[in-house]
């Protein structure tokens, strides 16, 4: 994959291009609305959804509070089950560990299951620099990789591509990676999926090394879990002789029983299914079944920094379902690439600036990539209060200075002062409605966000005045 996030422009600049692309906006709108409606139905089937959500939040909070204990327990369990555990403080160290492990097998290629963590650390590029080819095997990730592109959604990474583009990519690129696309390939999704099946099968059947992430790791048993749909995950997890899993330290949960919560909430939140087609669970190695060598690489890469922030640490509860992307009005218009990270959408807007810090322009702008409408919080299966973290991160960015940031901070201070004083707020609202004919249609100085939309009309009366008068 040649796509890279280095040198990304700030969010508003990156989003402007996407907002102007009508095809992209139509694709995104169709995708996000389809998944969001299906999700709502799948969730409504469970009468105890809120209790499951609360349990998921509590399990993650409890784990994070005692993360040291559970990581040590996980390590013991994995080692007892025949695995080997490595610890990587940052991306470079994780990449070096994986590259060394692959080289030690004598192999020069690996098959990969879709993994956010390995994308985050740029593993494919690091392996390529060592002369090792890493083949993505998830259909969407294959499309992204063959198209020298970047993923734009956590669940459906190639959602910005339509079928015609995918056919063209397969025709042009498959041949240089392995088995070429069949002659006369059309753009029907079934034919495209068949082309991917044939292209990848030869890679699966000869693969000696598999690389994965994991959705969960169970401390008490040492069990790793991967949720998937296509079967490429099962191929990578069972056919190779060596399996290397790179997993963020926040993916650990304490007990086997804890899994029953996420087995119910993740599929419904993510693909809007009662259960995804395939879920694999493995504990170390099993004689005569699957890889005989298993390495687990535990990745920090900014997670302990995130953990240190009292408000921001809740982002580590994330189980990567992508429900927040599908309900976000900003994501729907801007698309995933504008976020400049493998983690797009609302969760990306709070995760990337914490994992990477806010020194770069893109990361400093991400906390502003939101209207704070709160839909993301409502659908989050582990109840991450994303708006709360966004506001918290805005304060952090504003504290760092810069002209715009100082203005923003002053405005926020004034707003919170007025909100704390009902009489002042009422007077300000009244002043606003009485001068409404004088108001401009656009907010001056608010830049890209307001260029593409108009300010809502102010009502004749403020809500408070209406409530006091004829409204009751």
């Amino acid at each position: 994959m040649s796509g890279t996030f280095v040198g990304m422009p700030a969010f508003p600049e990156a989003a402007r291009e996407a907002v102007g692309n009508r095809t992209l906006r139509a694709n995104l709108r169709h995708a996000t609305h389809t998944i969001r409606d299906k999700r709502a139905k799948a969730v409504a089937e469970l009468a105890d959804w809120q209790q499951l959500r609360e349990a998921g939040k509590q399990i993650k909070n409890h784990t994070l509070r005692h993360l040291d204990r559970y990581l040590v327990q996980l390590e013991e369990s994995v080692v007892r089950a025949g695995g080997t555990v490595h610890w990587a403080a940052d991306a470079d160290e994780a990449n070096r560990i994986v590259a060394d492990l692959v080289k030690a097998t004598g192999e020069r290629e690996v098959v990969k299951v879709k993994s956010m963590a390995t994308q985050e650390i740029g593993l494919n590029e690091a392996l390529a620099a060592e002369g090792i080819s890493a083949y993505e095997t998830d259909l969407a990730e294959l499309i992204v990789q063959l198209g020298h592109d970047r993923p734009s959604h956590i669940l459906v990474p190639a959602i910005h591509r339509n079928r015609g583009e995918i056919r063209d990519i397969f025709r042009e690129e498959m041949g240089s990676w392995g088995r070429p696309a069949p002659d006369g390939l059309t753009d029907s999704p079934a034919e495209l999926a068949e082309a991917a099946r044939l292209h990848l099968r030869e890679k699966f059947l000869r693969a000696k090394v598999g690389v994965s992430g994991a959705n969960f790791m169970v401390a008490e048993t040492g069990t790793l879990v991967v949720f998937e749909s296509e079967g490429n995950g099962r191929m990578c997890l069972t056919l190779p002789e060596t399996l290397i899993s790179v997993v963020g330290i926040e993916k650990v949960i304490p007990t086997w029983q804890d899994l029953e919560v996420f087995l119910q909430t993740l599929p419904r939140s993510s693909t809007a299914e009662r259960m995804n087609p395939y879920t694999s669970m493995w504990t170390g190695t099993t004689d005569g079944d699957g890889p005989s060598v298993f390495h687990l690489v535990l990745l920090d890469n900014g997670r302990t920094d995130t953990l240190a922030d009292e408000v921001g640490r809740q982002a580590l509860r994330c189980i990567r379902c992508s429900a927040c992307l599908n309900v976000c009005p900003v994501y729907e218009r801007a698309g995933g690439h504008a976020y400049g990270s493998v983690y797009p959408g609302p969760i990306g807007a709070i995760l990337s600036p914490q994992l990477r810090g806010t020194q770069r322009e893109i990361d400093a702008s991400l906390p502003y990539a939101s209207s704070l409408c709160g839909a993301c919080y409502e659908v989050c299966p582990v109840a991450i209060d994303i708006p709360e973290v966004l506001v918290h991160l805005r304060e952090r960015v504003a504290d760092r200075g810069g002209k715009g940031h100082r203005l923003e901070k002053a405005a926020m201070k004034a707003a919170s002062w007025a909100m704390d004083r009902p009489a002042v707020l009422a007077a300000a609202e009244r002043a606003a409605t009485r001068t409404r004919r004088l108001h401009p249609k656009k907010l001056p100085g608010a830049g890209a966000w307001t260029d593409s939309r108009e300010l809502p009309e102010l009502p004749e009366k403020s809500f408070r005045d209406w409530w006091k008068g004829e409204g009751r």
């Binding site: 070096r96 069972t238 330290i249 259960m275 302990t304």
Partner: protein, 227 residues
């Protein structure tokens, strides 16, 4: 270079000087949460099942949910099983059928095609030439339409239900059928390799159009055996 060292065998204790990445990460975790409030114990107020405890209704729910995710579902009794399996294999046009080492002999008593015993030496490429595979399961979950394999003698290695394009899975009701995910978790052994299967392999990666069958078996048939 510090860090990145593998831990094998007994976990080594934290090193005093220099510090491995293991030690550094654990120290950073401890510092990060030093002042954090104690997190309360988990309250499991959620339900252990969403379905009334009536075996016939639970089996119907399993049937319905399996079918909704495009598994082909069949019902028979123990006496009718061999004939049904023979018909399913024949209907698929299979000339070879892979069998795990502990599949009950009588199940495929009437099957015409060549039986291929899975051996540890069988390569993935060899498995790729077999037409169908017949297995049992560890259990099935009605609420989600899921079958779970745990590598037992009648299920075999994980790869044999993955590489062939046609998987027939036999579920013995009511013993192997549970209503809910929490009920399933309580019965499964986490030390075994587990594969949860809910319908055939599928993808919605192209414009969200669902396509059945990418890398796993494109045809999943589930036989519910009662009596």
């Amino acid at each position: 270079m510090e860090g990145g060292e593998a831990v094998t065998g007994p976990v080594r204790s934290a090193r005093g000087t220099g510090g491995s990445s293991r030690d550094r990460i654990l120290a950073r975790v401890r510092t990060a949460v030093a002042d954090a409030r104690e997190a309360p114990e988990v309250t499991r107020a959620y339900l252990t099942t969403h379905t009334p405890d009536a075996p016939a209704a639970v089996l119907d729910l399993l049937h319905e949910n399996l079918a909704e995710y495009r598994a082909l579902v069949h019902r028979t009794d123990a006496d009718g099983l061999p004939a049904l399996l023979a018909r399913l294999v024949a209907d698929h046009g299979s000339s070879t059928v892979l069998v795990p080492p502990g599949l009950p002999l009588e199940w495929l008593g009437e099957a015409g095609p060549v039986r291929v015993q899975d051996r540890s030496a069988s390569t993935a490429a060899e498995l790729d030439t077999v037409d169908s595979v017949v297995t049992g399961c560890a259990l099935a979950i009605a609420e989600t339409g899921t079958i779970v394999l745990d590598g037992g003698p009648d299920q075999g290695r994980r790869r044999i239900t993955l590489v062939p394009d046609h998987h027939i899975c036999v579920v013995r009701a009511p013993d192997q059928v549970v209503a809910s995910v929490p009920q399933a978790m309580a019965r499964l052994d986490p030390t075994r390799p587990l594969t949860w299967i809910s319908g055939p392999s599928a993808t919605s990666d192209i414009e969200l159009d669902r396509v059945e069958g990418v890398h796993g078996p494109r045809k999943l048939e589930v036989v519910l055996v009662t009596g």
